[in-house]
């Protein structure tokens, strides 16, 4: 019981990170119908910018307290958003209107470019960093087994919920959000209604990258080790989460992320940690066989 509770806490906090990345996949898919395969690497960039910011703050002796963490988060979001914007501008916008596979191939290229760029500029070795947020709360005790809810896990859950709340308001209540939904449903019509679709698409990439930066920062603080390759597996998992939840659906992306996080954690806890990825992807395959549009994907037929 206590063991399961611990896994639940671990699974949710991991799932939140996947969910944050998955939102970026699903948003871009919704608005321009392409899978941005470089998104996992944008997450990795976010983690690196956070790491660099932490190191700079530590040099200045200012790396302590929640304010420092918040600063790291904001710096990472700002710079990663710039990366997201540039990637769209350089690699996807010139290909708009060409055949469907072109931006996809370009995305794979950008993924390789970002990995190599970080590998060359930062070195290939893993980058360890000390514990930034130590300690936690003892939730319950079952004999020798202590259920810990660490502060970093609380931070992950709180920050993710906060960011997702702001993001939900942005999409549902603001002119930008309405423009995004209009572009998602019919971008040609949106332009006929005076919406600058190129700008809307740019901002979608900026927001997606900022969310990935939050995920990258939290990942870096939680695991304390990053390298240039972390974007690949995290990206594939988050993509799986987006598909599982129903690609194009924002709540679906978060739900999918949570499920992948939980499946992976429980599988490692009760069966074998080596096969956790196999478990996560098998569930995806099964879901796609029986629910091809994912859990919250659209199934209704629309009149045209």
């Amino acid at each position: 019981m206590a063991y399961a509770l611990q896994q639940l806490i671990n699974g949710i906090s991991l799932g939140m990170i996947y969910g944050l990345i998955a939102v970026g996949y699903t948003m871009v898919y919704g608005i321009i119908g392409m899978i941005n395969f470089a998104h996992g690497d944008v997450f990795m960039i976010g983690a690196f910018i956070a790491l660099i910011t932490v190191l700079l703050l530590q040099l200045g002796g200012m790396m302590d307290g929640p304010a420092a963490i918040l600063l790291v988060l904001l710096v990472s979001m700002a710079f990663t958003a710039l990366y997201g914007w540039s990637v769209e501008r350089v690699a996807y916008r010139p290909l708009r209107g060409s055949f469907r596979l072109a931006p996809l191939i370009s995305a794979i290229g950008i993924s390789i470019v970002l990995q190599n760029y970080v590998q060359v500029s930062q070195g290939a070795r893993v980058k360890p960093i000390g514990t930034l947020v130590p300690g936690g709360v003892e939730v319950m005790r079952d004999g020798p087994f202590v259920v810990q809810f660490s502060y970093i896990q609380m931070l992950i859950i709180a920050v993710t919920l906060g960011v997702l709340a702001v993001f939900t308001i942005l999409v549902t209540r603001t002119p930008l959000g309405r423009a995004m939904r209009a572009c998602e449903q019919d971008s040609k019509m949106a332009s006929l209604l005076g919406i600058d679709t190129d700008r809307t698409i740019s901002l979608t990439f900026v927001i997606g990258a900022a969310l990935a930066a939050v995920a990258g920062t939290l990942y870096m603080i939680r695991y304390g080790v990053i390298d240039f390759y972390i974007g690949f597996l995290a990206g594939v998992k988050a993509f799986t989460a987006a598909v599982l939840g129903g690609i194009g659906s924002l709540p679906g992306a978060v739900l999918g992320g949570l499920l992948i996080g939980l499946i992976e954690t429980f599988w490692s806890a009760y069966f074998s940690a080596q096969y956790k990825d196999v478990a996560a992807f098998s569930i995806l395959v099964v879901t796609l066989i029986f629910l091809p549009t994912g859990l919250l994907g659209r199934q209704e037929v629309e009149k045209v």
Partner: protein, 241 residues
């Protein structure tokens, strides 16, 4: 002659290797209803979309109230007071009728959308009944009413209508044409109407143009065109009548 609200001057345009418009010239004066008739594939919809900047003209010049808009991006052109109810209506399927209407005002005007919405309800009371229904669940006629209502939300100076009668029952077509007539008479709205339904369109319009294979072949007052035998043979003989 007062300056034209819309002036299309020897415009050629097309998609890819296809040249859909060949040196097309037409003008629309303020307060006019002008119709453009022609067979399927003549380039009518392409012309309306070219006016809106998609595709951009390959040659020629388009101006709006004297200002050159050739080659400007679509959103910038629409912000100058143009609205379109496009081919296929393009209702946002997962937005309610109300949200669809609001999108019509969203980026184009800073005015409160309330009065314009009332105007849309006055023209098409059905929209008010369907206010909270999703666009994708409306009937064809209701979608057409919504497309026109949405286009009016920005208080445009020039309304472009692409085949509003397509696929609709005669009674609904009459309702929509009556609404266009009323808008023009009561508010002085300028309309460029593209139609295959030449009979009704020419009766409604002050002037008309005939487009054949991307070229303007005839122009004149609506009733005068209607009386021409070649028009009667080509566009009023068969199925539409």
């Amino acid at each position: 002659m007062s300056p034209a609200l819309l002036e299309v001057d020897r415009v050629s345009a097309g998609y890819g290797a296809v040249q859909a418009l060949n040196e097309v010239s037409l003008h629309v004066q303020p307060g006019e209803i002008v119709t453009l008739i022609g067979a399927n594939g003549a380039g009518k919809s392409t012309l309306l979309m070219t006016i809106c900047g998609q595709p951009k003209p390959r040659s020629g010049r388009i101006s709006l109230a004297g200002a050159d808009i050739t080659g400007q991006p679509t959103h910038a052109i629409m912000r100058r007071g143009v609205a379109q109810s496009p081919e296929g209506r393009r209702i946002f399927p997962r937005m309610t009728v109300r949200e669809n209407l609001l999108m019509g005002a969203e980026a184009l005007t800073k005015d409160e959308p309330g009065p314009q919405m009332e105007q849309a309800f006055a023209l098409f009371p059905r929209l008010k009944e369907r206010l909270w229904q999703r666009g994708g669940t409306l009937s064809g006629g209701e979608q057409q009413m919504l497309a026109i209502g949405r286009a009016l939300m920005s208080k445009p100076k020039l309304l472009l209508l692409d085949e509003p009668s397509l696929g609709l029952a005669p009674l609904v077509v009459k309702q929509i044409f009556d609404a266009i007539r009323r808008l023009n008479a009561e508010t002085g709205l300028t309309v460029l109407l593209v139609e295959q339904n030449a009979n009704q369109a020419l009766r409604l319009a002050h002037r008309g143009y005939v487009l054949v294979n991307g070229r303007i072949t005839m122009e004149g007052p609506g009733r005068a065109l209607l009386a021409r035998p070649e028009i009667r043979d080509a566009y009023l003989g068969g199925g539409h009548g």
